[in-house]
């Protein structure tokens, strides 16, 4: 009889659970799964979720990855060969003193709500940043911008403080997005208001962001009706999802060791390209030992970078030896500047007064590449007498402790922002690095003509490599895995965007 009571109890509990979980969704179902024509849906696997939807105020690569060029558009855009191409602006000219840009907007362009993309919208978007909104990166990108003016309905004028070669490139970054002025700024972090071919659909923090086709799109409509970015905390879980057919595309394989899983070309296509992500072993240049150039150079000589790439990133990733990725006009191969030479390293350490050895803290974020690289480097540095204590911090804590407070000796992190050579000239950078010669070269490059832009940056990059404020370990590869039917994949990642408008399926 008691037994019966237990069974009753269980039955009631079971019924309660059923009710809780089955009654709720009836209203919220948004999946029109049985509409006449088959909807084309793209499932994209990704790591690194957006922390918010307002690219201007939210840090991190997750937001532009989803929104840039897909939901938001910029005046101009970089193509796969890193050339500046029209997007919202059909053409533009620069004044002879190189202080004023005039952009002519596409007359067709309109926001997702149907209102036109006009000069007023550009003014409102850019004025917000001039008035002080935005992350450090956004503000840094727009630092040269003095004023923005509407000349005609579809013509807008940008005035700079000083000539800047970088500025046109900055317009292709998240800072340059044109936001619908009708939208309430406070709501942008949840509901983006752009002019792109997609609109934000469902956003389930921790698992997926979906984009749905903007039926009002002014340009060529994209191939897919719906794109789901699915997020995986564990990159291996993403691989297994791809292997079991739940994904159409892995936007960037963060376990390159596992690339062999996708060797079957009848089922998968693997695109290997480069990113702008330089993986750095960063030094705290205000640390008493690391302030000495000999010590920094000794570390360069002590590290066998190929071994680091092999162990940490499955051997994928180019050795660069400078802050410039191949493909930039001012790229030079400087990877041989500091050949692997433990004896030389010991000599340099002795010269710097550390013959008896040295202990350094290596505080790394828990991102896929950092802890393994740290382990490999620890072993290599031990061989020349440098004891390394590794500490792994989750990314939020790392941002706070290392990046904001600068409390570290060495760290490992990838700098993914395009054309970030200039970060070494930024005041208060987390490296505590400052070199007036370098700053001067960079300023000359930015303000000079096109030849100066290239030549001065070459010189600056060489100077930086000689000074060794960081060790350039390798360049993160861009490994995209797709099902074979998907076309239009851009192998090299030249912007922060994962541009799904280029993709199509032959299926």
């Amino acid at each position: 009889m008691r037994v019966r009571r237990i069974i009753q109890l269980l039955a009631v509990l079971l019924a309660a659970v059923m009710m809780v979980s089955c009654s709720r969704p009836s209203g919220g179902s948004s999946e029109p799964s049985d509409q006449g024509a088959e909807r084309k849906v793209l499932e994209v696997g990704a790591t690194g979720e957006p922390a918010g939807m307002d690219m201007i105020t939210v840090d991190g690569a997750g937001t532009p990855f989803v929104l840039l060029y897909n939901v938001y558009e910029t005046l101009v855009k970089l193509d796969a060969e890193r050339n500046v191409k029209p997007l919202l602006a059909t053409e533009w000219e620069m004044s002879p003193d190189r202080l004023t840009y005039t952009f002519h907007l596409d007359p067709q362009a309109k926001f997702a709500d149907g209102s036109p993309v006009d000069a007023a919208a550009v003014v409102a978007s850019f004025q917000r940043i001039i008035d002080g909104a935005g992350t450090g990166q956004v503000k840094g990108n727009f630092a040269p911008l003095k004023a923005v003016r509407a000349v005609e309905d579809k013509v807008v004028e940008l005035e700079l403080h000083a000539p800047s070669n970088y500025f046109l490139l900055s317009l292709t970054t998240p800072a340059g997005i044109v936001v619908n002025p009708a939208a309430d700024v406070a709501s942008l972090n949840e509901t983006p208001a752009g002019s792109g071919p997609y609109q934000l659909g469902e956003w389930e923090p921790g698992s997926k962001v979906s984009l749905v086709r903007n039926e009002q799109y002014w340009g060529t409509p994209p191939h897919y009706d719906e794109v789901n970015f699915r997020y995986y905390a564990d990159p291996n879980a993403m691989n297994t999802a791809m292997l079991s057919g739940q994904l159409d595309i892995i936007s960037n394989l963060t376990v390159p060791q596992s690339i062999g899983q996708f060797a079957d070309t009848s089922k998968y296509t693997v695109h290997e390209g480069v990113t702008d992500g330089e993986v750095l072993l960063s030094f705290n240049n205000s640390n008493p030992a690391l302030a000495k150039r000999e010590v920094r150079q000794a570390i360069h000589h002590a590290i066998d970078r190929q071994a680091v790439v092999d162990a940490a990133w499955g051997g994928k990733g180019e050795l660069i030896g400078s802050m410039v990725p191949p493909g930039e006009p001012w790229y030079e191969d400087l990877s041989d500047t500091y050949p692997y030479d433990p004896e030389k390293a010991k000599e340099l350490l002795a010269q710097a007064g550390h013959a008896q050895g040295l202990t350094l803290r290596l505080r790394v974020p828990s991102l896929p590449y950092a802890p393994p690289a740290a382990r490999s480097i620890q072993s290599q540095l031990r061989a020349v007498g440098i004891e390394v204590e590794i500490e792994e911090l989750d990314f939020a804590r790392w941002l706070d402790v290392v990046f904001s407070q600068g409390d570290y000796d060495m760290t490992i992190v990838a700098h993914v922002e395009p054309r970030d050579l200039r970060m070494f000239a930024r005041e208060g950078n987390y490296l505590h690095y400052s070199n007036p010669d370098f700053d001067k070269l960079m300023q000359e490059a930015d303000e000079g003509d096109e030849t100066a832009f290239v030549e001065k940056q070459k010189e600056a990059a060489r100077l930086l490599t000689a000074d060794a404020p960081v060790d350039w370990l390798f360049l993160l590869p861009n490994i995209i895995v797709t099902t074979p039917d998907i076309d239009g994949v851009q192998a090299d990642q030249t912007s922060l965007s994962f541009d799904v408008t280029l993709l199509a399926s032959s299926r």
């Binding site: 840090d59 990166q137 698992s207 995986y232 292997l243 057919g245």
Partner: protein
């Protein structure tokens, strides 16, 4: 009746104390939320302003009471990262976790009852010994490790089942079931090992009782006699274990969710912790801890109802 009221009061007290502990613990997390939100452009003034905006400058007790008041009325606050209601964030995730725990419990019982009974009845034979030994081994295997190999075998090599992810029941019941099979199996194997050992002990106890021997003597078969007379004894001792295991399952599911990329409470908690989204962390931890306390309370009460002898013993 009075006893029940006292228990109820204790239960309410523990809920309250647990909520205070959680609130205090999450507020003590370093890695200041304000500077995390501001990221790379955090200046001291900006951080101070953000703290005011988030209401972090007000006294601890005021914030606690406000939060608790909200929780009691079903409002867990809003996320500091994306400004969404935490209640709405938790609800769909709770569903996934509930299925895992429910099926994990059922699955482990389904495995454990026959296995434990077999091990008890055949305890003097080699096969019974082997079964006991296997359950010992199952107990020592990390559930996530079992999960990893299940994925390798059934999802990657054989491609019979999806490797991970979740499909809600109302979208496709068949897909929903397929996606739950592997994670539930991984959870059940280990849980069943624990429970089967209790089943074995309980069945052995029953086998030794006079009434069981009498039943056998008057011609009942072993299984029939067990079913008729043993079930209640076994169910009483099982109740406690299963109650405790449900708590273990709730938390064990956190790792399993990670292995199978399931959008449950655990994976959301880990995300909130890395984002320093205090309000979401508080909400999820509170739900988990209160669930465990509730289960303990229910088990306690049920135990008393089932076994009057216990009434005199200290609580």
């Amino acid at each position: 009746m009075k006893r029940l009221l006292i228990r109820l009061a204790w239960f309410a007290g523990s809920l309250l104390l647990a909520s205070l502990l959680i609130f205090a613990a999450t507020n003590w997390l370093p890695g200041d939320i304000a500077s995390v939100l501001l990221g790379t452009n955090a200046t001291p003034e900006a951080v101070a302003a953000k703290r005011v905006e988030l209401g972090l400058d007000r006294p601890f007790l005021v914030r606690y009471l406000e939060w608790l008041g909200g929780v009691v009325s079903g409002d867990f606050g809003t996320s500091m990262i994306n400004g969404r209601s935490v209640t709405a964030t938790i609800a769909p995730r709770l569903e996934v976790s509930l299925w895992l725990v429910l099926f994990g419990t059922l699955g482990s019982l389904l495995l454990a009852l026959p296995v434990g009974t077999f091990a008890a009845v055949r305890r003097r034979h080699l096969d019974g010994f082997v079964v006991s030994a296997l359950s010992q081994i199952g107990l020592a295997v990390p559930a996530f490790w079992a999960g990893i190999w299940l994925v390798v075998l059934f999802a990657v090599r054989l491609q019979w089942l999806p490797a991970g992810g979740y499909v809600p029941y109302w979208e496709s019941p068949a897909q929903w079931a397929l996606h739950l099979i592997l994670p539930v199996t991984a959870l059940s194997i280990v849980q069943a090992s624990v429970i089967s050992r209790y089943v074995r002990t309980a069945v052995i106890d029953v086998l030794h009782t006079d009434y069981f021997r009498t039943a056998r003597a008057i011609g009942w078969g072993k299984v029939g006699a067990l079913w008729r007379h043993g079930l209640r004894n076994i169910s009483i001792s099982l109740l406690t274990v299963v109650g405790l295991q449900v708590a273990t399952l709730l938390v064990g599911a956190i790792i399993i969710e990670q292995v199978f990329a399931l959008p449950g409470l655990g994976s959301r908690l880990l995300l909130a912790v890395t984002q320093r989204d205090l309000v979401v962390v508080q909400g999820i931890v509170l739900v988990l801890v209160w669930a465990v306390l509730l289960i303990n309370f229910l088990v306690d009460v049920a135990y008393q109802m089932l076994d009057p002898r216990l009434k005199r013993e200290a609580t």
